[in-house]
Subunit: 215 residues, 2 copies
DNA sequence: TAGATTGTTAATCGATTAACAATC
DNA sequence: TAGATTGTTAATCGATTAACAATC
């Protein structure tokens, strides 16, 4: 019972990038673009762009191309950015704070409604006008306020226990910055991982691969 | 002139995850593991694990499996974690500060040697014992201290100009948190992107796709 | 109408899975 | 030796690219 059936992960991963490039074109007052022109800008093939878009519908017009604004709107809609899912942030350390302050949640379909930590020094302070609340009050909070998503910015040792509590509260969508594989333990959840350590190691690989003498 | 030739991106992306799971097995004093057992733990096929590892060499032993510790060491070596690439961080805002404080650079093959910003209020403060330096001094610093990598934690509007300066200084490896596509403008560079906005939108897509009624 | 460019089918390419001989 | 499990080749599956008829 999915909105779009059989969309492959590579296609989904490219959508935000299309959205970004189209946003930049709008800022430059470009009103129309062909798959060919867009492919040149993005370093893709025109064929791939047309294939990707046609997973969701025919947004172009033969002989003309695509209307930048309406394609932008369509992709925003496909991504679900016209929602406002309520999210709680778990962990108000450096990373959690950066995520809370740095992200434009509202433009990405989310609303940050609570921040939790177990550090007594942090509890009571506010981040972006949202008070940092004692993690002990998580159950009370999520019972009172409908919560769609949890954002994990806690060390991996703390993650399983908190995940279990959230799961029992019915919160089953996670944006996971923790170095812990949530999807291994639950099957009916939605997880999007941001593994900064993995990313840094991939950079290390790329540099080493390009520079080290074969051995 | 690469150390490993023809290794596909999907394989490389799985390496850090193998490394992490093996590290956890070591912590649990597990000394040997078969591709079958590891595949169960990680949610992959045993075949894929063997294929992946055999891109780099035969690390197992027929009838026995793999030594956890030596496979861990091998993957660490493949990733290049035994290097210590010097890195400068550009941008000491919330995100830059979180990256500086949060990451164990030394365990991932890097050493953070400088932090730069153009905000007078930040210049002179220290993060992790590293002073925040005026961005104007970037050229002087990189000339004096060999610099392998730049970490971009600046807004996308600031990115192109700083990238140009770093490129001219010979710094061509980037860990890019900025919402800007560096690889479009230079070809002889190495970029690893962390696009948090893209990640958040993908989460939004997954939730919306699973929950919205088809229309 | 003629030119341009899409939507879509077919061909190719690459990645994953299956199978099994080699061998510890 | 017998059992287990690898390394590797072959088969399948999926994603990307190419081609072109449809059509604006």
């Amino acid at each position: 019972m999915h909105k779009y059936e059989n969309i492959s992960a590579p296609v989904i991963k490219r959508l935000p990038r299309y959205y970004r490039f189209l946003g930049e074109l709008i800022a430059k007052d470009v009103t129309r673009i062909s798959s060919r022109e867009l492919s040149d800008k993005m370093g893709l093939t025109a064929s791939q762009i047309r294939q990707d878009l046609n997973c969701f519908g025919g947004f172009g017009q033969q002989g003309y191309g695509y209307s930048v604004q309406s394609l932008y709107n369509e992709i925003g809609h496909i991504l679900g950015l016209d929602h406002l899912y309520s999210a709680v942030l778990i962990g108000a350390g450096n990373l959690g704070k950066a995520v809370a302050v740095h992200m434009s949640f509202e433009k990405r379909g989310f609303k940050l409604i609570g921040i939790f930590d177990n550090d007594k020094n942090k509890i009571g302070t506010t981040i972006r006008d949202i008070p940092v609340t004692d993690l002990d009050e998580l159950e009370a909070f999520c019972t009172e306020h409908h919560t769609d998503v949890a954002i994990f910015c806690v060390p991996k040792t703390a993650t399983p226990e908190i995940a279990e509590r959230l799961y029992r509260l019915g919160v089953k969508n996670y944006w996971n910055f923790s170095h812990y594989d949530l999807s291994i333990h639950y099957s009916d959840i939605i997880v999007e991982n941001v593994h900064l350590n993995d990313s840094l190691m991939i950079l290390c690989y790329k540099i080493s691969d390009a520079n080290d003498a074969p051995n």
